[in-house]
Symmetry: D3
Subunit: 148 residues, 6 copies
Amino acid sequence: MEMTQKIAIGKLAMLVATLTDEELEIFSEQLKDVEYCQGKSGSMSMQKVISAVETSAKRNHLISDKLYRETHALYHAILEALEGVMRGQIVAGDMMRTVGLRFAIVRGSPYEEFDEGEWLAVAFYGTIGAPVKGLEHEAFGLGINHIG
Amino acid sequence: MEMTQKIAIGKLAMLVATLTDEELEIFSEQLKDVEYCQGKSGSMSMQKVISAVETSAKRNHLISDKLYRETHALYHAILEALEGVMRGQIVAGDMMRTVGLRFAIVRGSPYEEFDEGEWLAVAFYGTIGAPVKGLEHEAFGLGINHIG
Amino acid sequence: MEMTQKIAIGKLAMLVATLTDEELEIFSEQLKDVEYCQGKSGSMSMQKVISAVETSAKRNHLISDKLYRETHALYHAILEALEGVMRGQIVAGDMMRTVGLRFAIVRGSPYEEFDEGEWLAVAFYGTIGAPVKGLEHEAFGLGINHIG
Amino acid sequence: MEMTQKIAIGKLAMLVATLTDEELEIFSEQLKDVEYCQGKSGSMSMQKVISAVETSAKRNHLISDKLYRETHALYHAILEALEGVMRGQIVAGDMMRTVGLRFAIVRGSPYEEFDEGEWLAVAFYGTIGAPVKGLEHEAFGLGINHIG
Amino acid sequence: MEMTQKIAIGKLAMLVATLTDEELEIFSEQLKDVEYCQGKSGSMSMQKVISAVETSAKRNHLISDKLYRETHALYHAILEALEGVMRGQIVAGDMMRTVGLRFAIVRGSPYEEFDEGEWLAVAFYGTIGAPVKGLEHEAFGLGINHIG
Amino acid sequence: MEMTQKIAIGKLAMLVATLTDEELEIFSEQLKDVEYCQGKSGSMSMQKVISAVETSAKRNHLISDKLYRETHALYHAILEALEGVMRGQIVAGDMMRTVGLRFAIVRGSPYEEFDEGEWLAVAFYGTIGAPVKGLEHEAFGLGINHIG
């Protein structure tokens, strides 16, 4: 049972969420191996962030809008990514606000074995802080789940 | 009180923790603006991971080994980064094991204003899973704190 | 997109984990619609509990021991069930001990739509408390995940 | 100090919250040993769920509406049960919605020793998911506390 | 249902855990209204801290060693107090060490109404940090529960 | 690297948050070594509590309103203190309400070594419970952070 991860979907999601278009150029070859999309969410309401990611994933056909199991897989990947963004803080929307949170969704087959099938990676990158511009610092989160 | 972040220390920490030496080359110009180091920790014992990062930070003079306040700043940046790695799971060492967790520590002055001083970013990137090779997926974490 | 859950795999997992053999008899008809197994774990070491459930699931062919994605699906269902057992308490093995924790794993197709495929339910039922017999009360947890 | 639990109030609360009236019939003999009531709450606002359980408990005289200590005992049993329903997820009302969450409250004397007195069990059973019918799966939680 | 707290058992527990004997003198009159004891625990193993408090509570007859319900009440008051000491950090013994953690247990009747009966307060005060003397700062926690 | 804490800023913050003016008199000598202020917040909305503490700290010049790093230091001290007030409960504003939460902010130099610089302590003391007067008990929290 020796497997290796041939495609690092988490790393790719991180790069798509974090880099400028120009910087991302260098990774364009690696990105051909996966399906991905990106988007933005300027709110710290959990519902709006989750909703923005789900809508983007469905509109870009990264998950099927016909199947609950794909929404379920995405939802838990989003929650795991948000844990990184929030870093264990008690309540989110109630205590922080963010400007310019970018997200990336990557779908691919990270493992050599065909039967390991497809997996999802969700990454967030942005700034978190008070509503005054500048009173903020960077935050990041990554979630991974099996899908399909 | 208009500030902007001129240097994204969190993004740089992520890149140092994640990219290959070759890929990191492209960001060498940006990395000149900060002090940084990197390391590895192959264990999922929290104490060992924290200890590896602290030792690396002191040996590379990213924090002073004479001042508790710098250890305190680093410690909380590490804890925040580990929240992303663990994604809210109940207990760590007791439930997961990782192979090849890399970390990066970046110290720099992200803000235009001189008085905002120095900040620390700690990033982890690696795989988490069962102790059998392959039974694992990627994980990531980023923590930021003021220092100095 | 109107779906209804035709088989309540969570409820069945609860019943298998909780009822006596005699009481379970009444639900034998419903249990024909799913695959399931049960087991016991007398420890409060997270690793041992997780390990006991995983071993039982593989030995009873509820998940494939060839595929990481099935282990991954089971693992997160176990973690979710353990949250119910522990009820948010800070650390588990360090603070509690249990006698007679029973578990049930159920695999089935809860949804009418064929494409929703198979899902897993993991339930724990037992007593939690001090190591002295009687210094304990009941605890329960249920986790659900998509699989296959 | 050898005690055994003669009445499993947690198990009874689970059955009352989960079974149909017809299925519950079989346990009617066991239910004579305890006081219990049941109810529903169709919202995922924590305040509304807690409020529904408290109101039901008081109206059915399972706790005294004159004593804070009984409200306090019930409140913590509810919180523990909600941990199982939410499974460690960061924020509740902000991220999930449920349809048809049923609850049961059981008050009884689980221990042989007279002086161990009365205890409360609170159980929730229902479905959690997106507001679209079908985009949901089962969830369960159980909380236990001493009272009286 | 207008009640007021006539005795602040939590405040008294805080003072007993925090003040020097000399400073505590001034509150000796208020302390006559409650039963209390104090102790120390120099470890950050959760089990040892909990065990030290439980042993002290039983030896000083603040709770009965014959009744599980009193141990249960104390146990949850201890857990709540430890939340304050740990401030949401992921795992305790695995990441911190403390020197000179003092605790206080107070049992009394905080409410005017006779039927509200007795309650417990548990307070911790000490320093938390690295095992090197001085690499540490203060920490505090308070837990309250009904009992008797 | 032998250090000792010469000023217990956490203990002083606790006393300022908890004691009556008369009781606090006895500690007036110790309070000369630090800067401090106190205030009240009658709400359990996290945003309002945090906002009240921040406003008080800035108005009393305990932190600079020009520097994000000082707001950042205070913010995390507040969050840590709130962990003690909430004791791990899932969501705050959604489940509890408080009357008469008092807070204290203390800024000082706890360590002998000049270079350890200034630190902040934030303490909360109050009652938590249902919105009906009396249906409540005491709660406490303390957070400490380096600053300056």
